[in-house]
């Protein structure tokens, strides 16, 4: 079952043919695969309980709101990213696309004095345009996703720098400040946007055919294509949405800070990818749950928040996130290995004079 399409994605290890597994291990593997997100949820709740017992400031309405606010931007960008990874692709350019969109916005709104609405629209269009470029190069022309978006990682920030000359624009006014600082029914606007996108994303992932189609592209592109799945259009559209989400995330952050800072979005791609992989989406594609991604996002947010409440330095946070990610990779490798264990009592293979065709 050598996969011909792996040529264009040589960074991924080729999938070994899957053999049926024996009873006990097979059940364990299925359990792991189906409940990886459940396990993460339990870990999240346990961690929440620990922080609650250690700090009276943790489980308060105010603090939970803060956590939600802090994860909204990463969460927003993680939704299309999760879909891309599920489909066997990746977008490393999101942080740089965010800063490019913000640079464009700052230039339009403050230097050229265009209206807020037009400036926002252009910023989002810049994100969409960069995403479309990624999509066309990667999906249609079959360039390597890692290389193209790594190029975007450097390139988009470079373009942003030539626009801003490293100058931070600020003073966008109260209307724009609402985007990052306002509340709706006492929920911060960024969190409302994030949760809204999550609901739409989960609906696509679980309730619409598109979710299965993405999974089929990530698992076996040739099989998917032979059944008529749009193996080029779907990833291309996902790249466009990834670009739009990155631009939107950059705008929200600009509103929160009231500054179109050139340092926006640094490290965003890694935070987003960490949440996606922590949530159990297989880096090779084909497997994953958006609920798991939500739990992954919240896990990182709660960990950050709790450790800060307990006055534990940020380097511990990084260390903890790294450790958890490696643990998730270990669980995934364990699962993959179980998948490859052949049936204990192998059936004799029928005598075939020729294995041909």
């Amino acid at each position: 079952m050598a996969q011909a399409e792996s040529a264009g994605r040589s960074w991924r290890k080729p999938r070994a043919p899957r053999e049926p597994r024996s009873g006990g291990l097979r059940r364990l593997a299925a359990l792991l695969a189906n409940y990886q997100s459940g396990g993460l949820l339990i870990a999240l709740l346990v961690m929440g309980a620990i922080f609650t017992s250690m700090s009276k400031n943790f489980l308060t309405h105010r603090n939970l709101t803060v956590i939600l606010l802090q994860v909204s931007i990463v969460g927003l960008v993680a939704i299309p990213q999760a879909m891309l990874v599920l489909s066997g692709y990746v977008d490393l350019s999101v942080g740089s696309v965010a800063v490019l969109a913000v640079a464009m916005f700052g230039q339009m709104a403050r230097v050229d004095h265009h209206s807020l609405a037009l400036s926002i629209a252009i910023a989002l269009a810049v994100g969409a345009g960069w995403g479309l470029m990624n999509g066309v190069l990667i999906s249609y022309l079959e360039f390597s996703p890692i290389i193209v978006t790594l190029g975007g990682f450097a390139g988009a920030r470079g373009v942003a720098e030539t626009i801003t000359h490293d100058v931070t624009q600020f003073g966008f006014g109260d209307k724009f400040a609402y985007l990052g600082n306002g509340t709706i029914l006492s929920v911060p606007v960024p969190a409302v946007i994030f949760l809204g996108f999550f609901v739409v994303g989960a609906y696509i992932w679980y309730e619409m055919p598109l979710g299965r189609h993405m999974m089929s592209i990530g698992a076996d592109k040739i099989a998917a294509r032979s059944r008529g799945v749009s193996t080029k259009l779907i990833p291309c559209v996902l790249y466009v949405f990834s670009g739009i989400a990155a631009a939107a995330g950059g705008l929200i952050l600009t509103s929160e800070l009231d500054g179109a800072s050139p340092s926006i979005g640094i490290g965003l791609e890694l935070q987003v990818l960490t949440a996606v992989l922590l949530g159990g989406v297989a880096f090779a594609g084909g497997r994953g749950s958006l609920w798991g991604v939500l739990f992954g996002i919240l896990f990182i947010g709660v960990l950050n928040n709790g450790l800060i409440l307990l006055n534990i330095g940020p380097y511990v946070v990084n260390l903890a996130v790294g450790a958890v990610l490696v643990a998730a990779a270990g669980a995934d490798a364990f699962y993959q290995r179980l998948e490859r264990i052949p049936v204990a009592a192998a059936e004799p293979v029928a005598a075939e004079p020729e294995a041909s065709t």
Binding site: M208, H213, S216, A219, A223, R287, A350, E352, A355, T357
Partner: protein
Amino acid sequence: MNEQPVVLAVEGITKRFGAVTALNDVSLELRAGEVLGLIGDNGAGKSTMVGVMSGALRPDEGTVSVDGVERSFANPAEARAVGIETVFQNLALVPTLNIAENVFLRREQYGPGMLGKTFHRMHKSAMRREVREGFERFGVTLPPVRTKVSALSGGQRQAVAITRAVLWGSHIVIMDEPAAALGVKQTELVLSLVERLKAHGVAIVFISHNMQHVLRVADRIAVFRLGRKVADIDVHDQTTGAHLVGLMTGAA
């Protein structure tokens, strides 16, 4: 003799690959509820014939008719649209999707109400039910329809792929080496499925190098040698593997 209507007729097919004539003026007929075995040595042209019948290859000469209508297929999807489906070695099943999801891949049904109609919400339970009923109808025993295909054996995957073809209305199913590299039990699963499909009126082209398999399921056998059809015989009690091998190699 089978008095059913002819569902697939290929006439005077010639197919060349450069200097190689893979098929030379070959004609075949297939009736509803009939299993036609295609046998021949390596390179005899069997897979080329499958390609022509399933729309993957265009013949240089000759015609393909389905249900009495002459067709020229640009691709396998067009052949599928008129009811011919080929189950290839590479089964076109997605390992991380479950059985029901695979059967309905790209043919998902939408749920009732506004969500289904306007927002394309799938009707998952209805699809699962339909798959379960379909397997029952053809007497296929498989693990629950929510089992991931990666957990299925080779024979079970064959059964899923073949049943999927029939569930989607294909009345002509072509199988190129469906039982190659399968265990004894798995092979039995596939062969008995072929027999049951036949009873349901499905016409089947069955290619195998295993004479026992061919003799068991085929009503008629076409023997290919060096791109030509050298024999087209009804299978009866006296047909032996030795005789067929003689025809294949030209010794008979």
